[in-house]
């Protein structure tokens, strides 16, 4: 009797069963290999591009692009205008018992290629239980004390709550006024919205910050490396590129009208490449320190001019003794310097005797205007914060890094001014005649601009476009 077919088919005998089961089981083993043999496309392995690429700028974006291209067998050369690699990742050595960061030093989020690069190069991170203090009503208070203030909910709504903002695109400072934020919160608000984004609250738009919060993919952790500094780490990570980097070579002209792209440096030397990736800071492009021949398309020029890129100053201050709690890494809300970092906190430094004042936007203008009195103004502000003269009496020395005044950079990092469409970064990231490609933090169009990992991600995009169009 056949339970599954009753129209005369005979039940299988033992031999049939063995033959058919063997065939069936064998096919199960063979099938995966058969399917695997169906070759799938891989842009990065199958690219037809075998030409040469010149990279303008030896910051993280340029270095990373060079590393990836080199692994793909592409002939690559990096031109760096200064005498060291890293761009806005820069450390000050010999100032204290650790290399003091003068540019980018924090890592925002663990889900990024930058964090992966740090891990791969043996970086270890400071424990994340470090705290921020806030300068509020002439008192330095903890975050929990700030949260107990009556109007804290307004501050929270117009900073962390920007993701759900539904009003028009206005300066963050105007939004603070509209929301009714009391005056004693304004300097903290400026630090959290403006200064931390490379400008001040009057220059940065609400929609731009909302866009970032909505599109951020890297995670929320803020990490600091404990066992080295970022510039030293870059030298290790990109050590294999030593022979591919030309330091002290300032590219002044990019001629892309012919079959090849010709790069001319300020000494009159020229080099030819099939493609060029421009990773120079936005400030350099804004100041037209690189000439493009022919001129860049008007939409590129408009994008370059429209994206915000403000002045920024970092002031390293060394003291005889540490007068701040060891577990506090940041003081927020100054009027001379909106933010002070303790980069030696969390075990980075044994002495932990250095504060770095972070001054951006109009605050940087004010600091510059103070001239030689600038340091005194900072010390006076610290005296007020700590309600004692210990800061000014224990002060030893300072170092000023003026990123805005340096024509190799022209500012700190890009941001969205009010009423600026998010599209501008996409326009800036578009290649010109499939020969000139743009990368760098300012060209990141999906929320990671102004970050190291954003700069790296933009390099992946530039290379993908080169490979796609080959």
């Amino acid at each position: 009797m056949d339970i599954w077919e009753q129209n005369g088919t005979q039940e299988m005998n033992r031999k049939d069963f063995l033959v058919k089961s063997t065939l069936g089981v064998s096919s199960l083993f063979v099938l995966p290999y058969f399917l695997q043999s169906c070759k799938r496309e891989n842009l990065y392995e199958d690219s037809n591009f075998k030409g040469s690429v010149g990279i303008v700028g030896g910051g993280i974006s340029g270095l990373y692009a060079a590393l990836m291209l080199k692994q793909a067998g592409v002939n690559v050369k990096v031109f760096e205008a200064s005498n060291n690699i890293g761009g806005r990742i820069k450390s000050l050595s010999g100032f204290s018992d650790f290399n003091v960061p003068l540019g980018a030093f924090q890592t925002f989020g663990r889900n990024s290629v930058w964090c992966d690069l740090l891990n791969a190069n043996g970086a270890s991170f400071v424990a994340t239980d470090l705290q921020q203090n806030y300068f509020f009503n002439q008192n330095l208070i903890s975050k929990s004390e700030l949260q107990n203030q009556a109007s804290y909910s307004i501050l929270e709504e117009i900073t962390d709550g920007l993701e759900n903002y539904s009003g028009s695109d206005i300066p963050c400072s105007s939004y603070a006024q509209v929301a009714g934020l009391p005056n004693d919160f304004l300097t903290i608000h400026n630090a959290l919205t403006g200064n931390s984004n490379g400008t001040d609250a009057t220059q940065i738009g609400t929609e731009g910050l909302k866009f970032v919060r909505q599109h951020w993919q890297a995670g929320d952790d803020v990490l600091t490396i404990s066992n080295t500094d970022l510039q030293s780490l870059l030298e290790v990570a990109f050590g294999s590129l030593t022979n591919d980097i030309s330091l002290n070579t300032r590219i002044s002209t990019i001629s892309y009208g012919g079959a090849k792209v010709v790069l001319s440096d300020s000494d009159g030397n020229t080099s030819e490449f099939d493609k060029v990736i421009v990773t120079a800071p936005l400030g350099v492009l804004k100041a037209q320190l690189i000439n493009f021949n022919p001129d860049l398309p008007p939409q590129h020029i408009q994008a370059i001019n429209a994206i915000g890129f403000d002045k920024g100053i970092r002031v390293a201050l060394k003291f005889n003794e540490r007068f701040w709690p060891d577990n506090v890494s940041e003081f927020v809300g100054g009027t001379v310097a909106p933010q002070y970092f303790a980069p030696g906190a969390g075990g980075v430094s044994l002495t932990n005797n250095v504060l770095v004042a972070d001054i951006n936007g109009s605050y940087a203008d004010q600091f510059e205007a103070l001239g030689a009195d600038g340091i005194a103004a900072i010390l006076s502000e610290l005296d007020a914060m700590f309600n004692s003269d210990i800061p000014s009496t224990t002060f030893v020395s300072s170092h000023i890094e003026n990123w805005g005044d340096n024509d190799l950079f022209g500012g700190v990092k890009s941001f969205y001014p009010p009423q600026l469409s998010e599209e501008v970064r996409t326009i800036l990231s578009t290649s010109v005649l499939n020969k000139v490609f743009f990368a760098g933090e300012a060209t990141h169009f999906s929320g990671h601009h102004g970050t190291i990992h954003g700069a790296m991600e933009s390099s992946i995009r530039a290379i993908q476009k080169i490979f796609e169009n080959a």
């Binding site: 077919e5 088919t9 991600e457």
Partner: protein
């Protein structure tokens, strides 16, 4: 109301005389747009010794019921719940990168034997030995990503769209090879499902982080191949059994 009650009653009766089916097997995912995220991840991590392979090979399990629709034409319906898992893992510098895509599916399979179209098959409780099937289904795509101690889902699950639904159609063939103790039919079968619109907004981000390359959130066409062993527990009711055997005698 009466109609609904009648439908429900009929459904319960059908279920009572149905055949429980459990399948397990290998599954192969082909979604080139999602593969690209892995290619990009590998290319952008030249320092990694171990690479992440795209989500290709996986395993699946299905649980369903075989319902008789028209045994005389060997037509059966098998509603089925399925689970597919595709996983990719790499260890570099003491840190594990793990990417996983779980697909939960609900399918309606229509089993048939082409022979039954032209002449009566007079099939038993689970159909003819050789059969073909076609199916319609809906899939819930649920990715998971972990890099070191960073779990992407923990960060973004609440705030961003991480799961998505997609419908599919497909088909395949099977052969009821073995009957164990006249109760459990063992059937190897293989088939394919096409998901024309496999959309998951954040899947590329799970792999490649902050994407700048327009990695496709939508696979134009995801194709799932599978090869399974099915176990069907046959428990015909007395009347059914008598009817089947009566048919056999005629």
């Amino acid at each position: 109301m009466r109609i609904l009650a009648t439908i429900l009653f009929n459904l319960l009766v059908k279920l009572a005389i149905s055949q429980l089916s459990l399948s397990m097997g290998y599954t192969n995912l082909n979604a080139s747009e999602w593969d690209e995220a892995f290619h990009q991840y590998n290319f952008s991590h030249p320092w990694n010794e171990q690479k992440l392979t795209p989500l290709i090979h996986g395993y699946q399990a299905k649980l369903g019921y075989l319902l008789k629709i028209k045994p005389s034409r060997s037509i059966y319906l098998k509603p089925e719940f399925g689970f597919n898992r595709y996983q990719s893992k790499a260890e570099n510098f003491g840190e594990t990168a793990l990417m996983r895509l779980d697909i939960y599916s609900l399918h309606a399979n229509l089993n048939f034997n082409p022979r039954g179209i032209f002449r009566k098959a007079n099939a038993g409780p689970i159909g003819t030995r050789f059969f073909m099937y076609t199916n319609l289904g809906v899939h819930l795509l649920s990715p998971y990503s972990q890099k070191g101690d960073f779990i992407y889902n923990d960060q973004f699950e609440k705030s961003k769209e991480t799961r998505s639904l997609a419908w599919s159609f497909g088909g395949g063939i099977g052969y009821r090879t073995l009957l164990i103790a006249k109760k459990i039919a063992v059937t190897p079968y293989a088939g394919a499902r096409i998901i024309p619109n496999a959309y998951n907004k954040n899947l590329p981000y799970y792999v490649a982080g902050g994407d700048q390359t327009y990695l496709q959130e939508k696979a134009r066409m995801a194709l799932i191949w599978d090869a399974n062993i099915e176990f069907v527990w046959i428990f015909p009711s007395k009347k059914q059994k008598q009817a089947d055997y009566r048919n056999l005698k005629t």
